[in-house]
Amino acid sequence: MRCEAQDLRLKTMNTDQTISQQQIWTWLEEVIDPEIPVLNVVEMGIVRDVEFEGDQVIVKITPTYSGCPAMNAIEVEIRKKLKEKGIVDFFVKTDFSKSWTTDWMTDHAKKKLKEYGIAPPEKTEMDDDFLASLKNKNKIVPCPFCDSLETELQSEFGSTACKSQYYCHGCSQPFEHFKCI
């Protein structure tokens, strides 16, 4: 049975301690994305839901990119974190019902990305005619270092599945762009 209320309490290893769903969300914010170490898994939009089912905590996560090798590491880190906080009975479930989009990333997270040197994703646009749009020029991505618009796409694929590679003619620096999907 799913419990909706936020203030539901759950037994942990220390039997006198009780916790809320909000507490679990806060703990999960301590789990850092291994590929982008300035963001946590909640800001990334990877954690979709925290539910209590009886005495069990269910954490629903969704992969960013299908082939992202960090997903397994992230799942292991979430498990470690819950254990560390004394949760005895938990289940990390991968949920595919809604596909991850960069629009789920918080504004704060996008700001942190830029400060880290990665051009953040723009808002996704509905491409009604994707095939025709292939003939259009690529969108201009501002340089995260000097904000120049004189940038050039070098490769759609970067060091991780979620990033593409750009070069800035303003400050002569290569940089990465978080692809918007």
């Binding site: 990119y65 299908s66 082939g67 994707f130 292939l134 490769s155 759609e156 970067g158």
Partner: protein, 279 residues
């Protein structure tokens, strides 16, 4: 006498093949598993072929790009296998990738062909990504299964990236130097007889189509052809003859010899050490 033996052998093989493959999916679950495996096998095998480029790409960016696409495709396969495993009550999806033989694989022959040169790899990626684009676009509108549909929507976003990548390379190589132009043309000529399988619909597909779990790929053949023709012509290349002999039967286990070799490499470790674990 030898003819007699041959005839006996053929009839035995037929019985074997019939019993192995010709059990048309009847229930909704059977049709769903068949569909999931057909989609997943295409993606696993092509993903594996692409992964062979890792460390051998023509330039660093392209090495990364091909590895990225390979990861996506294997990721798509893993998700589809995991769902099939859930339905069939298997403990995990590894069974499908590591413990089946070549005749059990349901992929089309095009994806199992050796990687060839870079032009061949690009020609295959382009033709397959275009097919996947139209197929997924329709499936998303049709498939009445929430979990399956969710996966398709996720994969569709990535397929668009894959298509953009290979389309640009077809144009760059086709309309490039004399050498790149000739190699790109040769690649399309060579692969063309394997494109027919993408649009062959058998009674297994029909079982799934009737249950709103799959779609008839013939319905988007004209769109596929028109898009592919436009790009090939824009790349100053000639579209190969569509009326030529087309390979068929791989989805029902009649594969080229290449698949067995691929599986030998891919499955060796897992079959030799079935309980091996990353430590």
């Amino acid at each position: 006498m030898r003819n007699e033996n041959l005839r006996t052998l053929i009839s035995r093989l037929k019985t074997y093949y019939m019993s192995t493959f010709d059990t048309r999916p009847e229930t909704r679950e059977e049709a769903l598993v068949e569909t999931l495996l057909r989609l997943a096998d295409d993606r696993l095998i092509l993903g594996h072929r692409l992964s062979e480029w890792t460390g051998h790409g023509p330039e660093l960016e392209e090495d990364l790009a091909l590895a990225n696409i390979a990861l996506d495709m294997i990721g798509h396969a893993a998700a589809l296998y995991a769902y099939a495993a859930e339905i069939e009550g298997r403990s995990d999806e590894d069974y499908y990738a590591y413990f089946r033989d070549d005749i059990d694989f349901k992929n089309i022959a095009m994806v199992e062909l050796p990687r060839g040169d870079f032009a061949f790899t690009i020609a295959r990626q382009f033709l397959f990504s275009t097919y996947s684009y139209f197929l997924y676009d329709l499936l998303i509108k049709k498939v009445a299964d929430e979990q399956f549909n969710g996966m398709l929507q996720k994969h569709f976003k990535e397929i668009k990236y894959h298509l953009r990548h290979s389309r640009e390379w077809v144009l760059r190589l086709g309309d490039g130097t004399g050498e790149s132009h000739d190699r790109m043309q040769e690649a399309f000529n060579e692969i063309w007889m394997y494109t027919g399988e993408m649009f062959a619909v058998d009674d297994f597909d029909e079982a799934a189509i009737n249950k709103n779990l799959f779609t008839d790929s013939k319905t988007f053949y004209d769109e596929w052809k028109s898009f592919v023709n436009d790009v090939i012509e824009e790349a100053t290349l000639i579209v190969p003859d569509n009326d030529q002999y087309m390979y068929s039967g791989a989805r029902r286990g009649r594969h080229t010899e290449y698949l067995g070799h691929l599986l030998a490499q891919m499955q060796f470790l897992r079959r030799s050490y079935p309980d091996a674990e990353w430590k």
